[in-house]
Amino acid sequence: MAVIGILAIAGIIAMAEVPRLRRKGHKKELWVFMLLLLLGTGISIAESLSVKVPNPIDGIAYLYKPINDFIQGILK
């Protein structure tokens, strides 16, 4: 059910923007638009099916951990 809703919204967004971009002949824009929309819908659908999606913030926390520990060490 949720998946259908997400797809419908993605469809509406695509219908609202794609004809305008195509009319102007913006190829690069069209590609970027489709890619981002695909990314957004993909994550949304994965979430609604409770598939585990990697959390970007955990990645950041992992990357910054050494600097972090250093700063916390100074301040403690």
Partner: protein
């Protein structure tokens, strides 16, 4: 299209003030009370002082090439590919933080106001307003900020006047008891939420401000207004609720609003007061989102950023449900990782850009003098 948009210096000052107040007003009192106990307001004072110095740094970076936004400046100074790569991480930073703010909105409403509404629906509705605002452009956002700012000031004054009868001075005594290290830790946390994210405003200043020189002054006054607002809010939280209650709340200023009681008649008006932080969070979120959308458009060298708003809005909502599985996770992230993450862009990146600019100019001068010398020979 993007280039034609200009906001006035006054509007920019208001945007700075609302942006700096943003989420700080909701979440900061608890952490400051935990670190510095009853001296939290002193830590905030210290933080505002450092924040003003940081504004000087941001203005210096903005003045390097006044016609360029931060992303364009990076490409100009760091070279095409490195500049684009750094820009992309900056855009990622802005987008993830925007979705984190959206998570805060959803979390605040579902835990405090409407516990039975699913968070998704609140996030989607709030994101719709933000996407709409950004689609209409920075001019529209700035004008609505100008309109809503008096309402914000009015709510804040009502808040302060109605809460002040319950002030207990004993709560703040003894003054200056916290040792310096705790005070410093609290102040650093404060600037990591209050002034380091202001770097995002370099996407607006000075390229989209019609009188950049006047806007410099308003940049400072905006930060000072926001700082005073926050110091008052933090001081009131401690004066009324006391240190223990303040540090145990997730949203102390909301609990503070619940305390309002005028003659046993005017009570429980906290939801009206919540209008105050909806205004400030809306502008903070919109500016983060604006920065990521325009940044991406400028990195890809496309003229119009508007077509990016809807798909990035979908990504933002999807991320907002993903970034923090629970409150504890967000708490940990904000206390630990956030400081170094935001410092990368709020402190290190401006310094790097200034350094590169100075280095390149010196190099150019050296080249100019040496070519002159060869000519004279």
């Amino acid at each position: 299209m993007v280039r034609n948009e200009k906001i006035s210096a006054r509007q920019f000052g208001i945007l700075v003030a609302l942006y700096s107040i943003g989420t700080t007003i909701l979440i900061v009192p608890a952490v400051l009370a935990e670190e510095a106990k009853q001296d939290a307001w002193i830590a905030a004072l210290l933080g505002v002082g450092i924040g003003i110095v940081l504004v000087g740094l941001f203005i210096a970076v903005g003045s390097l090439i006044p016609s360029m936004s931060l992303v364009e400046l990076m490409e100009e100074l760091l070279g095409k590919w490195l500049g684009k790569a750094v820009s992309l991480t900056f855009i990622f930073f802005a987008l993830v933080t925007a979705s984190e703010l959206l998570y805060f909105v959803g979390n605040f409403i579902t835990t405090q106001i409407m516990p039975e509404t699913p968070m998704q629906s609140i996030n989607i509705i709030f994101a719709c307003v933000v996407v709409m605002g950004v689609r209409l452009g920075i001019e529209t956002l700035a004008r609505s900020a100008e309109l809503l700012f008096p309402l914000f000031v009015f709510l804040f004054l009502v808040f302060v006047i109605f809460v002040s009868p319950q002030v207990k001075v004993e709560n703040i005594q003894p003054v200056l008891e916290a040792d310096f290290k705790n005070l410093l830790r609290a102040a650093i946390y404060f600037i990591s939420v209050f002034s380091l994210p202001t770097v995002v405003l370099l996407m607006v200043y000075p390229a989209s401000v019609n009188r950049p020189n006047e806007a410099k002054k308003n940049f400072f006054s905006g930060v000072i207004i926001a700082g005073v607002t926050l110091i008052i809010m933090i001081a009131l939280s401690i004066l009324v609720l006391g240190v223990t209650t303040t540090q145990l709340q997730i949203y102390p200023s909301y609990s503070l609003a619940k305390k309002i009681n005028v003659g046993n008649f005017l009570q429980r008006i906290e939801i009206v007061m919540a209008g105050m932080w909806f205004i400030s969070i809306f502008f903070k979120l919109s500016l983060y989102f604006y920065a990521s959308v325009t940044g991406l458009a400028q990195t890809l060298n496309v003229k119009d950023y508007r077509f990016l708003t809807l798909p990035l809005g979908v990504v933002m909502v999807a991320l907002s449900m993903l970034v923090h599985p629970n409150t504890l996770h967000s708490f940990e992230y904000n206390r630990e990782t956030w400081l170094s993450y935001v410092s990368t862009y709020g402190l290190f990146l401006p310094l790097l850009l200034l350094g590169v600019y100075a280095f390149r100019r010196k190099g150019r001068q050296d080249m100019a003098t040496s070519s002159n010398e060869t000519k004279s020979e």
